[in-house]
Symmetry: D2
Subunit: 306 residues, 4 copies
């Protein structure tokens, strides 16, 4: 987990010492993951204190089976002496405890690229939520292998890139996407029902920085046409899953899931319709939590701090 | 579907012609399943009318992919001329339309045998609901391969049969169970977290008359230790499924499913605890609907009339 | 219930006699409500038959406390002799049984006017669902007391009318709205978080033809600022409700409700955000069911046929 | 909040410094509530450290509107020097910060008295969960104003006290109950569908130590017959609520709520049946959380630590 730039923080529960702070722009967030060992908590706490970073909020979790410790700290950027020194100290402490960490400074918003295809419900949903200030980020661009989303992006004032793809041009298309993404300093890629499978090479460039939505309650109905599979099996509930993308299709760490009842009366089309609501919600939740640095991946699972 | 004796009917929505009737004991229920064909509805309707059976309620469903027609009719037993004649007419009409049917007369309660092992939550739940009059049946017996459930059965005044089983004695144990069941005229077998796999031979004796609860959201986590599997996969919801038992383990027609949220904090034990609530509820719902002749199995799925 | 023109019918379960039909445009829907009396079902059925209207699907419900009978029938328009004669027969039968009824012919789509104010999530949601063919209607216009929704309506190609309102101009504004609505032959008015209270006179013009969404789990938190009320009371779930508008504010027949968990951590703003998802979903469901002629109001409640 | 004796702790997430501990009996729990002020966290932390109490887990929450700080700490009892000294230090620090606190030592189980009337589902549920080790407590007694629950208590080996009540004997009955409760050192009173209203005097003896279940989604349908009220209003979901009892009937701090769908088909009896599942679940959750010292009441609301 190389320290990608910096963070957010809707500090509604900012606390501990000092008045409750509200502006996300003055808040830093540090997330930490390490093998369980005595002294980590106090070391990190002292480290922040030495740098003038008053802790506003802290949450931790310890996974017993893997003896792994997770912590998320929010601190006041106002008093912070120097970011370079802070990060050097974190590097040192990190090495000592075999600790992975990343820090984000709230005065920079995370940048998001949304990938879409022909289905537009998740794309619309993200753009509308962004406009309603539910997602604390910049939407830097929409990339699609179809031109259909262009007017949608334009309606919301977001740059649109049409990158068609065929089996032959796939590598080139991904290179073009990566260049757009890297040039814009994109922090998170969101696959909003993007119907292309990304190559392992592309996925490896953005570890735990690509979020996908799968239209089933994983691990049920992996693969194509999950709603058709669900209809055929005669299930009484369907689901949707948002997850980080890894090289194993539909196998990445799950971030959020939701389900809804269905019945014998429901046709495949009904399931598709009902599923859209789930897809939108689980994808938006995953994106929001990622933007707030609430999600930590480990052992092909996630910790999601409330 | 040979016409097993007869059933129930909480006729809260009894209607159509005549005052709303309330006593389940005076209600007959006819369920019908046939290839879609013109004339079935009116034939069945006239057949009942000719026998003096006033229709109180009717619901139907047509499955487009398989062009199959399903109907559930409730009729007043008071005016019915003669059950033998009614059933002979049904047999004739059934042959004409290649129709499967069964009829139940509400003046006889269905008889249920509950199979249990060491886990007692589903057993307790069924017995308590029965006592609260949620399940319109007789609980004829509890059969278990462990003696633990004996005091529970006794507390509720239900006969208990301890039938231990080992790989060597399995065939004999099942024969003993079948004899008890058949002698008592049991209509429905409920596996309340019974931890033995029934042999194909036993299952074949009671087609669509054995209901099981599986402690996962099928088809996810088939097989052993589904909560452990769910924990390992890091899902954000767990589920439970009630289904008819077929010779394919965990593959029978699903009757009901339910899910509940979980989080990274939940240990396997927490999932087991949360799952118990789901298991109880989906099993009880399936049993109640079966007792009310609301469930019809086809194509390894179920139609469940509201 | 004067027979407003005609419609709909996603006949997925079209059945009874004849092959399963799929095109909504060839389907008529008749809904009926009457005091419970012998002979209604067969009279209505014969009436349709005499007019050459083959019944495709039928559902009914009988409310025991009020002894009221409800039926929804779908029939094939192809063989229907003559709509004028059909409706005359219905009028006659209706008088005989003191029966309220309405019929809709699927070859005309219902027309909808959406009222919005500054909040745009429900408006967007309806327009997106309409484009995804989830709502079988024409969106004839968007009316708003604020200009903000204008670009949204334009993006979806829907006429927009800006009708600002002040206490002094309210009567005039409603008159203007009514004229637009009546001239366009609008069948349903949807209040998509419209923040003005309609006058009793306006409401009376469109009985059971105005659907509103209230941002609480009615009857809890009637009135202003329900999310703030919910936060203050410390509830652990919030909800949203869609209902027909009557002259009693927040007291009309409920069509759909949904809830979601919340916690002490949630600020009022969090509740507002979580509530938006509920509001969109319950409003869209109510609109869809109304368009499909599945909703029947009585005794300040609704019957909603599956 | 006078420091009632001491607490539990299923330390699945025990952490911070030292290996993950599992035995609840060696864990102490300190809960703290104070006006937001700099220095509280470090003072409490140092206080525990000075007494040899290694912190295993910590969670906090700050309520912005009321500027109130909440913390729940779990610590290892093994190294604790002396409980008397610890509590004296807590009293001193408590006074300095105007802090309310309580501490519980896991080597003593909390004692619970269950009050029941004729309805038995919640009583059974608590006793079964207790036997399944879901509730870490002793069930010291069942008190009822009806004799019906006697065989149930006996089946589970719990002492039963039959205390009938009439308007004339109410004061005496409550005195008798209080004496039984106090003599047994009961820590928590659970009203498992107890159908008597406790007098303000009785309630005042056990502040935030009496948990009730109300069979509606409070604040909807306060008072008698909530299922009948819900049926009459035509809601599409019903709910249940567990809460601390205060002198204001149905107005105490809410601990947990749950809802389930209903439909026009559901009679009042159906709502009662569906509601039972909700009642059992919300009551059991509240009891479990209280036993784990996860619930803190303030401003007529609750903080419930995960």
């Amino acid at each position: 987990m190389p320290p990608p730039p910096p963070v957010i923080a809707r500090t509604k529960s900012a606390t501990m010492s000092g008045p409750v702070v509200n502006s996300a722009t003055r808040v830093g967030t540090l997330v930490v993951q390490a093998p369980h060992e005595k002294g980590i908590v106090s070391s990190v706490s002292q480290l922040l204190s030495r740098q003038g970073a008053t802790v506003l909020d802290s949450a931790h979790f310890s996974d017993a089976p893997t003896q792994t410790f997770f912590q998320r700290l929010q601190f006041d950027l106002t008093g912070l002496n120097d970011r370079v020194t802070l990060e050097r100290s974190l590097r040192e402490t990190g090495e000592r405890f075999n600790m992975r960490w990343r820090v984000w400074y709230g005065d920079r918003k995370k940048r998001v690229a949304v990938f879409a295809s022909k289905q537009e419900h998740c794309l619309y949903d993200l753009l509308i939520r962004h406009r309603a200030k539910e997602l604390d980020c910049e939407i830097s661009m929409v990339i699609s292998n179809h031109p259909d989303a262009s007017p949608i992006a334009r309606h919301f004032g977001v740059p649109f890139h049409f990158l068609p793809v065929t089996p032959e041009t796939k590598a080139k298309q991904e290179d073009a996407a990566a260049e757009l993404i890297d040039r814009a300093g994109v922090d998170l890629i969101v696959l909003a029902r993007y119907m292309q499978i990304l190559s392992p090479g592309f996925v490896a460039r953005y570890p735990h920085r690509i979020i996908n939505v799968h239209h089933s309650f994983l691990p049920a109905f992996i693969g194509a046409n999950p709603y058709r599979q669900a209809h055929q099996r005669g299930v009484k509930m369907i689901g949707a899953t948002s997850h980080y993308v890894t090289s194993q299709l539909d196998e990445g760490p799950i971030i959020e899931q939701a389900t809804v009842r269905c019945a014998h009366r429901d046709t495949v089309e009904d399931l598709v319709r009902k599923g859209r609501e789930l897809e939108k919600n689980v994808l938006a939740a995953a994106v929001r939590w990622h933007l707030d640095d609430r999600v930590m991946a480990y052992a092909n699972k996630t910790v999601v701090f409330d």
